[in-house]
């Protein structure tokens, strides 16, 4: 077990900067997800923590100790690769025992630990089978078991679920959470799937183009995204972002969307936009569940008028795609009473509206709700 401090780490490959000035503090026993789109530098960050890549600048400390000059084989790290990296020329048993054998663990201990791990991962029935004969799901379990068996002080997982079928992915997701609690290890988990990150992690680090966008608990990044990218990336169904020009002075501010819809702003959101400096305009973020139909509930709530373009069933809920002057807004339909083509009045809950600068993407009001 170990805490990890990533201090101002930069990684360049020639001209290309993969990770830029990244700082993250990970506490002992914490489960942290590195979340971002493909190519954002999250795997590079992971490889630097593991020691597979060396940071160009900055330092990574384990329990306050810099391991940059420690060879990777002495770092005691567990790594689960996206493609599992199973030793296909060995049996399942040999895969599990490999790490213990290399570290000169006594034979009788190896046997008992392999047996225990095989039981834990439900692989006992195929211990003597060649690893290449396993199904994808079993390979995944073997990959996790192989990394966990040596009881590493930190556990790194690089998109471990992305190759699995949907059902097994959901199962493994909860399984991983259980495993982490059992092992009590510090876990770092790389993913581009925000649902995985939200459901698994204690903390999420959202990375885009090599830069840290936000680092906080899942609820924090969900409720209080510090910029437009985070707001857009986290949450399912996706947040609505109404981009447009901000017109008018304090009191009677308006946002005019590219489609020409005029949104009258009052109260807090209006004063948020007073801080807007860029000429490119601003953006209002509102999550689908914060839009409602029927009676206006608070005086500052923004009233809009549009028609129902599409209805989408997501489990027990229904999402309504509303069209307002060529701008699409998705709302959650609680009453289940709308049909396609209906003209409706709907409201954006004022204190759930977030204001962003369209140019820099920064949250206006400095991230405080």
């Amino acid at each position: 077990m170990s805490s990890i401090q990533i201090n101002n780490v930069t990684k360049r490959f020639g001209e290309f900067t993969a990770v830029s000035d990244l700082s993250i503090d990970i506490e002992d026993g914490e489960f942290v997800a590195l979340l971002g789109p493909s190519g954002c530098g999250k795997t590079t960050t992971m490889n630097m923590i593991a020691g597979l890549e060396e940071a160009t600048e900055g330092e990574i400390l384990f329990n306050g100790q810099d391991l940059s000059h420690t060879p990777i084989q002495q770092r005691n790290i567990g790594f689960v690769f996206q493609n599992y990296a199973i030793f296909t020329h060995m049996t399942v048993y040999k895969n599990l025992s490999y790490g213990l054998e290399v570290n000169n663990v006594p034979k009788d201990q190896i046997t008992s630990r392999v047996a225990a791990m095989a039981k834990r991962m439900n692989l006992t029935h195929c211990l003597d089978a060649p690893a290449a004969s396993l199904s994808v799901n079993e390979m995944q379990k073997l990959a996790i078991g192989r990394s966990a068996i040596a009881e590493p002080r930190i556990f790194l997982l690089d998109e471990p679920l992305s190759n699995l079928d949907a059902g097994f992915r959901a199962y493994m997701r909860s399984e991983l959470k259980v495993l982490q609690r059992e092992f009590g290890q510090t876990m770092i988990y790389v993913t581009h799937d925000q649902i995985e990150a939200m459901s698994l992690a204690d903390k999420i680090a959202i990375i885009d183009q090599g830069k840290l966008m936000q680092y906080g608990s899942p609820l924090e990044v969900y409720n209080n995204p510090c910029n437009r990218f985070v707001a857009n990336f986290v949450g399912s169904p996706k947040i609505n972002l109404l981009d447009g020009q901000i017109k008018g002075a304090n009191g009677s501010t308006k946002l005019i969307t590219q489609g020409g819809a005029e949104v009258a702003l009052q109260g807090k959101i209006s004063s948020d936009f007073a801080k807007l400096k860029s000429s490119k305009g601003g953006s209002i973020g509102i999550r689908p569940q914060d839009i409602y139909f029927g009676e206006k509930r608070a005086s500052d709530d923004i009233q809009l008028h549009g028609y129902v373009e599409e209805l989408e069933r997501v489990g027990p809920k229904r999402l309504v795609h509303l069209q307002v002057h060529r701008t699409q807004i998705v709302a959650e339909d609680e009453r289940d009473a709308l049909s396609i083509g209906d003209e409706v009045e709907f409201f954006l809950t004022a204190d759930k509206c977030m204001a962003f600068d369209l140019d820099s993407g920064d949250r206006l009001t400095g991230g405080a709700a």
Binding site: A50, L52, P71, I72, Q73, Q74, R75, N76, I77, G78, F79, F81, Q82, N83, A85, I86, F87, T88, H89, M90, Y98, G99, V102, N103, R146, S147, A150
Partner: protein, 306 residues
């Protein structure tokens, strides 16, 4: 209605026609294909057939005296006896040098040359693929193979004379190793290219050193490739004539060079040469059978997706 139907009818007729034409054509092309395959087989197999039958024919059957026959009329082991003991019944000419020495020379030099080429080729190609050490090495190694060996043979002879390597087992082994190294290097490189780096990283993270990863993980994975490489390099060395001709004189004459000395006052000793060819074919075939289970996988390695 009629006008409407017509185009349909037309197209139906057309389809039938095309189908029967296709069947006919595919039958014909199949026949042609098989005929060509049989022809190719015959071209490849006939010399082997000739060699095997000739090896067992007595002297008067491979001279035109009694007329040529497909199969030996009085099959004999005389040709082999002549090769191993220097004389045989019914043949007045005796052989100065029997097959023992050249056979041993061929086995020693081909094996040592193969070991040199495969070990050096495997290690250097792994270094280039995995550690990107001297990326230009890949092309410079290839250069060794780009000029005809004859072009450099005279300087090589002079050098080998200088280091005392002419007509020694190590001198010939060394040149075999050098000449087949590019082949081993490039063959092994294609196999190493296929090994996902994550498998090696997983082993490193688990606590293995680079060497341990190489011999416990990477090498076992490319075993089929290694087997293919060993066989090909061995065959290249085994069948060499030019290098052995120029770099050996007496002691370490190899089988191909030795074969050319099998001429007597009675003319070309076809029967003995065929017997020699028969014997010479055995080691590569034996090696091939030994590593057969890896061979098919090795030959198709690059074609498989992970």
């Amino acid at each position: 209605m009629v006008a409407l139907l017509r185009p349909d009818e037309g197209s139906i007729v057309k389809t039938h026609k095309t189908r029967s034409v296709t069947i006919k054509r595919s039958f014909r092309s199949l026949a042609v294909k098989y005929a060509l395959l049989l022809l190719a087989c015959a071209v490849v197999m006939y010399p082997l057939f000739w060699m095997i039958t000739m090896a067992f024919k007595p002297f008067d059957e491979w001279t035109t005296g009694s007329g040529l026959t497909w199969l030996p009329q009085n099959a004999t082991l005389g040709n082999f006896e002549y090769l191993f003991y220097g004389q045989t019944e019914g043949l007045v000419v005796t052989l100065d040098r029997t097959i023992g020495g050249p056979l041993w020379a061929s086995l020693v030099t081909s094996t040592c040359g193969t070991i040199i080429a495969v070990v050096a080729g495997t290690l250097s190609s792994y270094a280039v693929v995995r550690f990107n050490i001297l990326p230009s090495l890949a092309l410079s190694v290839l250069q060794l193979r780009l000029f005809p060996p004859l072009a450099v043979m005279i300087p090589v002879m002079v050098m080998w004379a200088f280091i005392g390597g002419v007509d020694t087992w190590w001198g010939l082994s060394l040149i075999y190793g050098i000449v087949t190294l590019p082949f081993a290097f490039w063959l092994m490189k294609t196999f190493f290219d296929e090994v996902p780096i994550e498998i090696e990283e997983a082993a490193r993270v688990a606590g293995s050193s680079y060497w341990r990863v190489f011999y416990r993980i990477t090498l076992p994975i490319v075993k089929p490739g290694l087997a293919t490489c060993v066989l090909f390099v061995f065959i290249l060395n085994w069948s060499d004539y030019l290098l052995a001709l120029l770099l050996t004189q007496k002691e370490w004459v190899t089988l191909p060079v030795y074969m050319n000395t099998l001429n007597t006052a009675l003319g070309e000793m076809y029967g003995m040469k065929a017997a020699l060819g028969f014997i010479a074919a055995i080691p590569p075939i034996f090696l091939g059978l030994l590593i057969q289970k890896h061979l098919v996988r090795g030959l198709t390695f690059g074609a498989l997706k992970q």
